[in-house]
């Protein structure tokens, strides 16, 4: 995978779900200042990338689950691998769940959730089995349409945009912005994927640089999307479940398509599939390296089944899901996204553990 592919994989891979749901979550705290939240989340997310980059520099050809035992000792290392696996697994299930919720709420009210989740799990399993190289190529194919889609929605909603709804800026000070920035970090902190992806990238330095750029691009997209959503829906924003989707329902192509939202749903399905595949890949590889399975491909199908089952089973309704996203998710994910790799990095620095010189690429 080339750094360009990494960039184009990360942007839709991490940004797709955030674009759709984030404004509601952040606007609940920061109201009309929610568009500042992604900027507030930037430093912490950059820190995640930096930590992953430093770790990858020490162990250029290995994934987290492979070098963790060398750094913190065998048993703690395996535990770290399992924790990271759990994070990827849980996130993958949560994305599946959100995917199905969204699909059912917006397009297919009578379709059973198990069917939607199962089909998505199957389709992504097919993609994952082809390996990171193909995921990178898919990223290249999806990045441009995803960006175009956002721009088209924004353009269509332009006549409904009322910039005055963004004022007053910082009505309640910085505090709510930082709180919502923390929530945003749960999305942008998903750069912890780099722990698994960086070994497959040619050229570590460029890979890390591409990740920073991807973070910038995602933050820019989130700022744009949040700002437009608030400018269209104003005080309604926190009440909407998928606010940017609602934005797409405002505009229309006149005589060709009355509502573009099913189109958005369709393309978003593709985006989520990419995200699902990425996390599935990360989960499978981490597990394989922790447990010591030689061919991670064998784990893909069973893992996909598990993810689907967990996604269907672990939450009751959209209410629980929304509540979890707002109050539980952010601190929970930080544990895995920032704390876990940071601890391993610190131990590695203190103990001076790194891969042999001749292995460094």
């Amino acid at each position: 995978m080339s750094p360009v592919q990494l960039f184009m994989l990360l942007v839709p891979g991490i940004g797709s779900t955030a674009v759709l749901g984030l404004p509601a979550v952040t606007a609940a705290f920061a109201r009309q200042d929610a568009w500042l939240a992604p900027l507030a989340a930037l430093p912490a997310s950059a820190l995640v990338i930096w930590v992953c980059g430093r770790l990858a520099a020490r162990f250029p050809d290995e994934t987290f689950a492979e070098y963790a035992p060398k750094v913190v000792g065998w048993l703690p290392g395996k535990l770290c691998g399992l924790l990271l696996f759990w994070y990827f697994f849980h996130l993958d299930a949560a994305i599946s769940r959100e995917f199905a919720d969204f699909l059912i709420a917006t397009a297919h009210p009578r379709t059973p959730m198990a069917l939607a989740v199962g089909l998505a799990a199957f389709a992504t399993a097919v993609a994952v089995r082809h390996g990171p190289e193909i995921l990178g190529r898919l990223g290249e194919l999806f990045a441009l349409p995803a960006v175009l889609l956002i721009l088209v929605i924004v353009g269509l909603a332009y006549s409904s945009v009322d910039m005055r709804l963004l004022e007053p800026v910082l009505e309640n000070g910085w505090r709510p912005v930082f709180v919502s920035g923390f929530l945003t970090q749960a999305f942008t902190g998903q750069f912890v994927l780099l722990l698994v992806l960086l070994p497959s990238v040619n050229g570590l330095q460029h890979g890390v640089k591409a990740s920073y750029l991807a973070l910038g691009a995602i933050a820019a997209a989130l700022v744009l999307v949040s700002a437009v959503t608030i400018a269209v829906f104003g005080p309604l924003t926190p009440n909407l479940l998928w606010p940017f989707f609602k934005v797409s329902r405002v505009g229309s192509f006149g005589t060709v398509l009355a509502r573009v939202d099913p189109l958005v749903t369709g393309l978003w399905v593709a985006g989520s599939c990419l995200k699902l595949s990425l996390h599935r890949y990360a989960a499978v590889v981490t597990l394989a390296h922790t447990v010591g399975v030689r061919d991670w491909r064998r784990l893909v199908l069973p893992m996909s089944g598990l993810v689907a089952a967990y996604a269907v089973g672990h939450l009751e309704s959209t209410v629980e899901h929304g509540y979890m996203l707002s109050y539980f998710w952010a601190p929970y994910t930080q544990l895995f996204q920032l704390v876990l790799p940071a601890v391993v990095l610190i131990v590695a620095v203190l103990r001076g553990v790194e891969a042999k010189r001749d292995e460094r690429g």
């Binding site: 709420a105 397009a107 005055r164 007053p168 009505e171 104003g234 005080p235 309604l236 329902r249 405002v250």
Partner: protein, 444 residues
Amino acid sequence: MRGASHRRGLARSVLAAAGFVLFLLCGGCYDRIELNELAIADLMAVDLTEDGLLKVSLQFIIPSELTNPGGTGAGSGLRDPFYVIEAVGETIPEAFSRVQAKLPRRLFTSHLRVIVIGEDLARAGIGPLFESLTRVRELRISADVVVTQGEAAELLRAAPRLGRLPVSALANMLHQRIVPVRSIREVAIALASDGVDPFIPAVGLTQRIETELEAGVRAQEYELTGVGIFRGDRLVGFAPLDVARGLAWLVDDPPFAVATIPWPPEPDQPAPPLERPDVSPEEALIRRDAPPALGPARLGSGLKEPNRISPLVLRARVNVQAEIQDGRIVMKVDARAIDDIVTNQAGLDLTDPDVIPELEKALEASVEERMRAMLRLAQEELEADVVGFGAIVRRRYPELWRELRRDWHAYYRDLPVYITVDVKVRRTGLTANPPSYRPEQIRK
């Protein structure tokens, strides 16, 4: 070269494909519905019944009456291509389900383009209605909303001549932007915002001139009657069309409209209406044959107000700002417009550059008067902040707003509004001077 592994691969893919097709045949088709199993509703009226329930009237399209699929002309023409079904319920979805009980096809509301709210319901409060309107997935959040004076369901009786469906006549009329159009989204935002009261265009019915063929047919057309003004979620009054145009200016959505002024300007009072001479058609014929009298005062003297100039607003921009003057919040309205002159009954010399500034001053006064009329209604009579002065104050002075918001409406009543208008007459239509005037009759 292609060994056993390939044969196994083939068997596996055949198996997978078979399983997939089987799965599709068994598992799919959950949300499937054919178009000819749908009852497509395009217009909805919501009223309040006497027992405090919601009465929902839905107008459905009958596609086969609209177009003949054989391609030979449009429909039978004998029956209307639409019909209306009513049902009563405590909430909108409940009423929908009662409507469904009267329908042979599945109720389909995604193509509702206009929602009409009856006066009683509007006076009782539209908050609960908008709760349903924003939550239900099928509804378009960009559908237009109107209110009526009287019962909303009455509006569904009209069968306008232009346009195949009443709803397109109604929606297209609204989008001529005589007054600002409001969609579900915009009203909902106004309801949810601090310091803004909603307003919704008001529509009524009017009789059209019947042709002989139409004798006995109900020949009703829609007519824009003004704007319904809300305080909170309750309707508190209607602004008639002329006043509502002032609102259009104030919310920076100026109409593509004509606002006639007298000439020379009469700043204090409009001239006492002249008695229109009672002229029989025969006399009118005789008059027309009579040689034209000299002097502009005699030209067209049969009209109520002969000396009029009509501008057409080409472009306009209105900016409302809050400011603090002497420790008190004042609103500053700054309007700029570019006008075209489309009628000059006053015989003014529009070729004279010195005349234009005077004319502009008179036009500015007329625009200001329109806004003032609206503000008088909104501030003094109805005490409804439809312009959103409160929101403007909030944006500019958030801290101050926190103190004011509790009793904003009381404050709003006496809020001073300074209006400055700048009108530029850029063009004067296609003629220089009126054709019926001699050069010596032109007013300098």
